[in-house]
Symmetry: C2
Subunit: 297 residues, 2 copies
C-alpha cells in the first residue's frame, strides 16, 4: 500500500530539485530572462504532469532517474503555456499560483520571451542524451516527437486557440470536449506516454496508458472548471470565477455542477479500469486518478 | 562553376514546396491558427537559413533530400521569432516581408499562438524520423539538440532579450556584438551545423563550418543594420529606419556606415578562409558569403 500523498510529496521534491539544477545550467545573462523563467517555473505548482511521467515509467518497470529530464521538460512546457495564456492579449490574468503573473512581475515583452525560452529549453533538455544515459536514443526521440505532437496545433495550442475563438460566443458539448481534450488532455497524455516510451513499454502497455490518460485528462479539466466556480482563490492560488467573467465555455456552465461532477467521476472510473493489465503495479496511477476527482468535492 | 542565383532559386523552390507539404499535414482546425502559421511562413522570405542547411550538407558530401526537414524547421523557427518580435509589446512592427505583420492581419492572441505553434511544429518535424530515413537517429537527435541550444537563452532569445533591455539605453560594441551574435548569429550557426551533423561531417569539418558561420552570421546582421539605414522599404518588404526610431543599438549608429561596411567585409573574408579544407566543395558557401556582403552595396 502506497500513501499517495507521501508519493506525491517525495516526487514533487525530486522534480523540484532536478528543475533547480537545470535552471543553474541556463545562462544567467540576460538576468531578466533567467529570472522570469525561474520565477514562473518555481512558483509552487503541483507538478502533476511530472509525477505522471514518473508514475507511468514505474508502472511499466522503469525508474524515476531515467525520466526526470522529460518530467522537468513537460513542466516547463506547462509553465510556458500558463505564461502565454495569462498575457493581456489572451486571458489577461494577474494572479497565478498565488503570485503576480509573469507579465505583471516583469513585463509583457519579458513574459513572451520567457515562455518562448521555457518551450525551447524543454526541447533542449529532452534531446540531451547525456542526461539520459540509460535510455535508448530511439526511445528518446520517439518520446520527444510524441510530446511535440501533443503540445502543438493538434493538441495544447489548438485547444487554446479554440478556447479563445469561442470565448463569449457559446457552443456545444462536442466543441467544449474538443477544447478540453486538446488544451489540457493532450499534455497529460504526452506525460503518461513519455514515461512509458522511455521505459520501454510494449504497445499493449502504451495503449492502456493512453486510455487511462485520455479519461483522466478530460476529468481533470472538468474538475478545474468546477473549482473555478466553487473554489477559494486563496487555496487555488489564482483568481476564481474567471471563466464566468470571461464567458468561457465550461462544463458547469453548460451542464451544471452536479452533472459535471457525475461525468468526471465516470471518466475517472473508466480511466482506472484501463489499468487492469498492470495489476498491482497500476496502484499509483489509480490513486492519482482518485486524487484528481477528490479535488472537486 | 555554380551560378549562385540559380542555386538559390532552385533551393528556395525546393524548400517552399517542402514547407507547403508540411503545412498540409497540420490540422486545418482551428482555421485561424493554421492560416496565421501559413500566412507568415509563406510570406516570401529569402530562405537564407534553409539554403545554408542544404549548402552545408552538400559541402560535406550530404544530399538535400535528407536535410529538408531541418531546413524547413529552422525557417519555421526563424518565422516564429519574427512574429513574436513584431508584437506590440516588443518591436511593434506593422510591416513584414511586404505584408501586414501577423498580429495586424489576424490578432495579437493569434500571433502569439501562431509563433508558439511554429516553434513547436519545428521540433515535431525535426524529431520525425520517418521524414529522414537516410539519417542516423543519433545524428538527428544531436542536430536537434544543437538547434534547440542555439535558438534558446544562450542564443536567439537571449540576444532578443538584451536587444529589448538596451533599447534607448545605449551601449558599447561588445554589448552590440553580444546582441548580434546571439540574436542572429546563433541561428545561422545552427543551420550550418545541422546540415553538417545530419550529413555525417567530421569534427574537423564541423569546426570549419562553425568558424564560417560565426563570421558570416555577424556580417549578415551588420549588413541588415546598414540596410535599415540605407535600404528602400519597398525593396526590403519591411519598414526601414526602424532601428533609429526605436533607438536600437546598431553598428552604423555606433561606428558609421563606412566603418560598419569595412567590418562586415573583413568578417566575410575571414569566414571564407575557414572553408579552405573543403577545396572546390566550399564554392557554394563562399558564394553565399559574398552574396551577403553584396547586399550592403
Amino acid at each position: 500500500m502506497i500513501n499517495i500523498k507521501d508519493y506525491f510529496n517525495a516526487n514533487r521534491e525530486a522534480v523540484n530539485i532536478y528543475i533547480e539544477g537545470l535552471l543553474k545550467n541556463i545562462d544567467q545573462y540576460p538576468n531578466d530572462l533567467h529570472d522570469s523563467m525561474s520565477y514562473s517555473l518555481m512558483a509552487g505548482g503541483k507538478r502533476l504532469r511530472p509525477i505522471l511521467v514518473i508514475a507511468s515509467a514505474e508502472t511499466v518497470g522503469g525508474v524515476r532517474e531515467n525520466v526526470l529530464p522529460f518530467a522537468a521538460a513537460i513542466e516547463m512546457i506547462h509553465t510556458y503555456t500558463l505564461i502565454h495564456d495569462d498575457l493581456p492579449a489572451i486571458d489577461d490574468d494577474e494572479l497565478r499560483r498565488g503570485k503576480p503573473t509573469c507579465h505583471k512581475e516583469f513585463s509583457e515583452a519579458t513574459a513572451i520571451l520567457a515562455g518562448d525560452a521555457l518551450l525551447t529549453y524543454a526541447f533542449e533538455v529532452m534531446s540531451n542524451l547525456s542526461l539520459m544515459p540509460n535510455c535508448s536514443p530511439d526511445n528518446v526521440i520517439k518520446a520527444l516527437n510524441e510530446v511535440a505532437k501533443r503540445v502543438g496545433v493538434s493538441g495544447t495550442i489548438g485547444g487554446q486557440m479554440a478556447d479563445i475563438l469561442y470565448e463569449g460566443v457559446g457552443g456545444t458539448i462536442p466543441l467544449l470536449e474538443y477544447i478540453h481534450t486538446h488544451k489540457t488532455g493532450e499534455m497529460i497524455l504526452a506525460s503518461v506516454l513519455a514515461g512509458g516510451i522511455l521505459s520501454g513499454a510494449t504497445d499493449e502497455e502504451l495503449a492502456a496508458l493512453s486510455a487511462y490518460a485520455k479519461n483522466i485528462g478530460l476529468a481533470f479539466q472538468i474538475v478545474d472548471d468546477i473549482l473555478d466556480v466553487e473554489g477559494d482563490s486563496k487555496v487555488m492560488g489564482k483568481n476564481t470565477g474567471i471563466d464566468a467573467k470571461n464567458n468561457k465555455l465550461t462544463y458547469p456552465g453548460l451542464l451544471g455542477i452536479a452533472e459535471s461532477r457525475h461525468i468526471a467521476s465516470h471518466l475517472i472510473d473508466t480511466g482506472i479500469k484501463s489499468l487492469a493489465i498492470f495489476g498491482e503495479r497500476g496502484e499509483v496511477l489509480k490513486d492519482t486518478a482518485e486524487y484528481i476527482i477528490a479535488r472537486s468535492f
